[in-house]
Structures are given as C-alpha cells and as structure tokens.
C-alpha cells in the first residue's frame, strides 16, 4: 500500500508545480519556472518509484503483472506518460511556459485516480481476458500516444492563448513565451509522435484481439473511437503537409483531437464495450 501513499504525495507535488508554473506566467520571473520544473522532476522520480514498488508488490502477492490492469493503474500510468513526455519537451525547447498548460492535466489525472467514485486502487490478479503478453505493449504504446496528444493539446492552448494576447500586451510578455512558429512546429511534432504511437497501439491491439476475441477488428466502440482519434490526426497531418494549414487551425485540430482521445479513453465506458475492464 506504500505505492498509493507515495502517489498521493505525487499528486500534491504536481499541484504545487502547476501553481508555480502559473506564478511564472503572472510574474514573468524565471525563478518560479525553475522551482516548478524542479518539483515536476521530483514528482516524476517519486511517481516512477511508486510504479516500480507497485509492480514489485504484485509479484509479492503472487499475481505478478505490470501495473496496467484497471482504471486506477491506467490513470496513474497516463499521468506518468504525460509528465515524462512533457519534461522531455521542456528540456528540448528550453522554455518552461508550456508547463502551465500540461502539468495541470497530469495533476487532474492523478487527482481523478484517487477520488473518482467506484475506483479501486487495490492490486488484483488478472482476469482471463487480460492474461496476455500483449497487455503491456498495447497499453504502453496507447498511453504514449495519448501523452503526446496531450502535449500537442497543451501547445495548442498556449498557441491560441498567445495569439489572442499578443495584440494587447507588451513585446516583453510575448518574448517570455515560445515564438508562434516554434509552437506550431511543436504541435505538429507532438501530434505526429502520438499518431505513430497510436498506430502501434491499434496494431498491437488488433493482434491481441485476434488471439482473444477471434477477430482483429470488431467495431467495438473503443476500437471505433481509437480509429476516429487516429483519423482526426491523419486529417491534421495531411492538412498541414499538403494544404499548408498552420497556426490557429492546427491548434484547433489539436484541441479536437485531444477531445476525441479523452472520449476514447474514458467516455467509451459509457457505451457498452468489450473493453469494459479498460
């Protein structure tokens, strides 16, 4: 149970980090961003440690499976994927303003995992449908895709926010944010990364479905929605590459794609689905 205790602290750390990223946006002092970033890294290391502990705990209980088997574990892993990808992007673009848009999503995911009604954080053995080597590959690739889409969404929000504010504020303010063309490129690159990961996720899912359900594709709502999400990003990539869509249009597509992704992940459970265990 130590892992869940650590994860509760991690949720709090992410929240504090998010608040500090906000401070940076308001006061325009890099000091706050450095502190926020430090906390995000701390949260990430504690988060990773908790995941390893949970994995080990499942072996000690005699079940022995990766912590990816129910809604609680998938939310925790989703938050982990977002934060690792965000920190990688922050390190690469050397600008910390994106944190105010992405870190809150990590925090909300963790908070939802601990307070959502009917959520079960116990480590449980795998039901027969999940006893497959494809579980880990399928879930990890899908969530890496989801995380990349989340970063694209954060960039999209920042883009829309900045292009809306630019007229009103001093150039000093705009200088503290990444230039619009760089954001535009980042939206595209994150979306493309998510597109590749989701493709791998869908392919591994199909292979698994072939062994588990007897059909590699059965138009289950989750399958259909993952295809919808994939197609939305396919539209985005083609519109940019061939029709030269840039800037606001791309940012709006990143928001729409993110909404589809969220529905694929959580909304589909409202419909009857073979993926009811997630």
């Amino acid at each position: 149970m130590t892992d869940t205790v650590i994860l509760n602290y991690v949720t709090f750390i992410y929240f504090t980090s998010f608040v500090l990223y906000l401070f940076r946006m308001i006061f325009l002092k890099e000091f706050w961003a450095r502190l926020a970033s430090f906390l995000a890294w701390t949260g990430f290391f504690a988060h990773t440690f908790a995941l390893i502990l949970r994995w080990k705990a499942s072996y000690n209980l005699g079940f022995g499976h990766a912590p990816l088997s129910n809604l609680y574990e998938s939310l925790v892993f989703f938050a982990w994927s977002i934060i690792i990808l965000y920190l990688a992007v922050e390190w690469r673009i050397k600008n910390k303003s994106l944190g105010a848009f992405v870190v809150p999503i990590t925090f909300f995911t963790m908070a939802y995992a601990s307070i959502a009604p009917g959520i079960n954080n116990r480590i449980e053995p795998l039901i027969p449908a999940l006893q497959s080597n494809w579980l880990t590959t399928h879930v990890v690739t899908c969530f890496m895709g989801y995380a990349a889409f989340t970063v694209a969404f954060g960039c999209g929000l920042l883009y829309l926010w900045k292009s809306g504010k630019e007229a009103k504020y001093s150039p000093m303010f705009a200088e503290k944010l990444p230039p619009l063309p760089a954001l535009d490129l980042l939206i595209y690159q994150s979306a493309a990364l998510g597109f590749v990961f989701l493709a791998i996720g869908i392919i591994t899912g199909s292979v698994w479905a072939h062994y588990a359900w007897g059909a590699y594709w059965s138009w289950d709502p989750k399958e259909t929605w993952s295809l919808i999400t994939w197609l939305v990003y396919a539209i985005m990539i083609h519109a940019r590459y061939v029709r030269s869509w840039h800037g606001k249009r791309l940012a709006v597509l990143a928001v729409i794609g993110f909404a589809c992704m969220l529905f694929t992940y959580l909304g589909v459970n409202l419909l009857s689905s073979l993926h009811s265990y997630l």
Binding site: Y211, A212, T224, W225, A234, I235, A239, V268
Partner: protein, 441 residues
C-alpha cells in the same frame, strides 16, 4: 471525352477529397457508436456492412491510389536530380557555413577526408564554378508515404477478403457433446465441417477473491470416428484445426445439470430423486405430479435452487426449493410465510429439500475462419514500417563547394532535407568544424 476524364482524374486526385472523406467517415463512426443498436436507423446500426460505407471506402481507395500515382513522378525526380545542386543553394549563405583558406589542393583533401570519415559514398564533380563534393542519405525516406498508403489499401483488401471468404459462428457444446455442423451467423444457414469437435471437459477456476482465473475447454477433433487431434482452448490461447480457429468465448450451466431432491412425508424421508430441467416425477400423495421448471446453480445470490411445479386435484402450485433454505430463513425471519414462493413445504404435507446440484457446464466456442488475416497482418507491418520511415528517417543531401577566388579559396557547406531541418543544420555545423580542423592540421 479526354476533358471529362481529366475532370474525373483531378476530382479523385485532390487532397480536398481525401480530407472530406476522412471527415465524413469520422462523423459517421461517431454517429454509429452513439445510436444504440436495436433502436437505431437500420443502415446506421449496421454501418460497416452498409452500401454507403462500401462506397466511401471505395472512393477513399481510388483517391489514395490516384494521389500516389500522381505524386510518384515528383518523388522519382527528387530522387534522381540531386546532382548538381540547385543553383541558388550557395547564394547568400551565412558566414558560419563558409571557410576561407589559401591552397585549393589542401582544401579538397580536407573536404574529402571530412566527408568520407562521416559518410560512406561521396561523389565529386568538377564544374565551371569549382569542385563540388556531394553526399546523399536516407533516399528511402521519400517512399515512406507510399508504404503507408499501400498498407491502408492492403488492410481494406484484407477486410474484403475476410468478409467474402471468411466465416464465423458461435457453438455451444456440453461436456461430452460433439458437433460437426455449425450454424453460421447472420442467417447464412448451416455449414458442414469435414470433422467433428467434441468438448471433453470444461474447467473454470477462481482466485480466492472470487474473480475468475481460468476458463478452459479440452477439445478433441474427430475424423471418421478417430480422435486426430486433442488440445485445450483458453481465453487468449485459441486452437487452430484445419484452417478453423477455436476461441473460448463464453460458458454456462448446461440444462443437463442434475439436481438431487428429497422430501419428507409422515412416513419418513424419501429416497434421493435425480432430476434435470423438464423432468416429471410422481408424488405419493393425491396422485400429484411434480415438474422441474428450472435448475439453477446460483439464483438471486442465494445459492443453488430448483423450481418445482406441482399439479394435484386440479390445483397447481409453484415454489422454489433452495439448498440453503435454513440459512436464508434465519437471515430473513418470516420469509417463508410472507413469500410462499420460497417455502419448500408449500405442498402439504410434503417438505422438499435440495441435497445438491451436480453441475454440468457447456462451453461457448467461437469458430472463425478468416483468410484475410495474413493480409491484415502484412498491412499492419507495412503501416509500421512506413510510419517509422516517414518520421524517423530523413532524405538529407549535403553539398560542399570548393572554389578558387582571386586571392583565396572559398569552401561553402550547405544541404537540403525533406524533414527535420534542425538536425541537418547541426550536421552541417559539425561538418564545417571538421573541415576547418582538417585544414589546420
């Protein structure tokens, strides 16, 4: 004629059509998942077998093929006309891409050494302007997009092959029962297998938490009275025989399940009566007949029970006989008088009790034959290879121009990439530094 042909071709080769088709498909998929099947509009409820869906997939395929064919010559030209460089390449070059030195031979040696140390094939060309060194890498990257588009077509083909030549159905087999004729789904009628399949045993295991652990059917495949193959089917572990795949898809309690009943009379206890659903047996009093309506392993979370219907003297009564009626009555005082349906002594003076239930399972197998699977797998592999080619490789071309100017020798470094220009810029900077280093030594 040729004009209308052109109109048609330009319609199908437009990327606008692709985007419109994709948007339409997305909207249709959304609608189809939201509208509940039994009440929905007929064609939308079965969208994936509707003419509209076939037409859209057909249009998308034609669009994909024509777009790719139209693009191919451009790509091939890109592939061939790499050498010499575009004329503007060395105009207005930033200073950090230029080196000045004094001896042309030394300069050429340094450039050659730097390029060959880093890349395998380096071409050299003497032009009026000067000597041009050239290397090219990742030409394959240009074809990634074709691989992806081809993979989509292969997957669509796989779906067509599967729906035309494939079949799937669900078969319920009780332990010991065998089947050689299967009833196809979608009212396609019976299908005669040239073997028969028998369920020898069905096993369900639970964890101590009560969650299911294993569902397993032990099957035998029989041909001309001989067992030719034996094997177990588990969830996630199907069994293949003669091109048919057998999947564990459901299970249940068979109607053949036997219940062991007794009743007490004034004269004492009756002998054990073995009954299954639908059985009728005589009772000693008033020429009564009892019919077994249901045999349940666990009804209303109250454990095993049998529903009896007793006819005597034109009277007709029904009630449940629970195996654990004592415990149930203790937890719910007054139950037997309030709910006569729960009273095993309703038919006076007999009091029934259920000793045990001898469970027999049936297994629900899904039987599938889909010749489209290898195609779908090929499509998936192509899709993966194509995407990786597009996003993780780049077609990069680098030129180095060495020219003799009146007082000095000028070395210019530049390149073109179809993707990731920042990575190319880094490469060019490193190359320039290396050349400077070579010259210095």
């Amino acid at each position: 004629m040729s004009k209308s042909k052109n109109v048609l071709r330009s319609f199908f080769s437009s990327i606008k059509l692709t985007i419109a088709l994709l948007v339409l498909l997305v909207l249709l998929f959304m609608a189809a998942t939201f509208i509940p099947r039994p009440y929905g509009i007929a064609w939308l409820a079965d969208l994936y077998h509707s003419p509209l869906f076939y037409i859209l997939m057909g249009l998308l395929s034609i669009n994909l093929i024509i777009c790719s064919i139209n693009r191919l010559p451009v790509t091939l030209r890109q592939c061939k006309s790499t050498h010499p460089p575009p004329s503007v390449l060395f105009e207005n070059l930033e200073n950090e891409r230029i080196i000045f030195t004094d001896k042309i031979d030394a300069a050429c040696r340094a450039v050659d050494a730097s390029l060959t140390a880093k890349f395998s094939s380096v071409k050299k060309l003497k032009t009026a302007k000067g000597i041009i060194f050239y290397r090219e890498g990742g030409r394959f990257s240009l074809f990634g997009v074709y691989i992806v588009h081809l993979s989509i077509l292969i997957i669509i083909a796989a779906a067509i092959i599967g729906s035309v030549f494939g079949l799937e159905t669900d078969v319920h087999l009780q332990e010991g029962e065998s089947a050689s004729v299967i009833q196809l789904n979608k009212d396609k009628g019976p299908y005669q297998l040239d073997f028969s399949v028998r369920c020898d045993q069905f096993v369900v295991e639970f964890y101590h938490t009560g969650a299911p652990k294993t569902y397993r059917s032990d099957l035998s495949f029989i041909r001309e009275g001989n067992v030719v193959h034996k094997g177990s089917v588990l969830v996630n572990h199907p069994l293949t025989f003669e091109g048919f795949r057998f999947y564990q898809s459901s299970y249940g309690i068979s109607p053949e399940t036997k219940a062991v009943l007794t009743y007490t009379t004034a004269g004492g206890k009756s002998t054990d009566i073995m009954v299954k659903q639908g059985d009728v047996f005589q009772l000693p009093a008033k020429k009564a007949r009892a019919t077994v309506l249901r045999v349940e392993e666990n009804i209303m979370q109250l454990g095993p029970a049998v529903k009896l219907s007793i006819e005597a003297d034109k009277k007709h009564i029904q009630f449940w006989v629970f195996q654990h009626i004592k415990e149930i009555a203790e937890v719910n005082p007054g139950l037997l008088s309030e709910v006569p349906l729960f009273n095993p002594g309703l038919f006076k003076p007999l009091v029934f009790s259920l000793k045990t239930i001898e469970k027999r399972y049936y297994t629900g197998l899904r039987v599938v034959r889909d010749p489209g699977v290898p195609f779908a797998l090929t499509g998936g592999v192509f899709l993966l290879v194509g995407l990786i080619t597009i996003y993780f490789t780049a077609h990069q071309r680098i030129w180095v121009l060495v020219e003799q100017q009146p007082q000095r020798v000028k070395i210019s470094v530049n390149g073109i990439s179809n993707r990731y220009s920042t990575s190319l810029a880094g490469k060019l900077n490193r190359l320039r530094q290396r050349i400077s280093g070579e010259i210095a030594t």
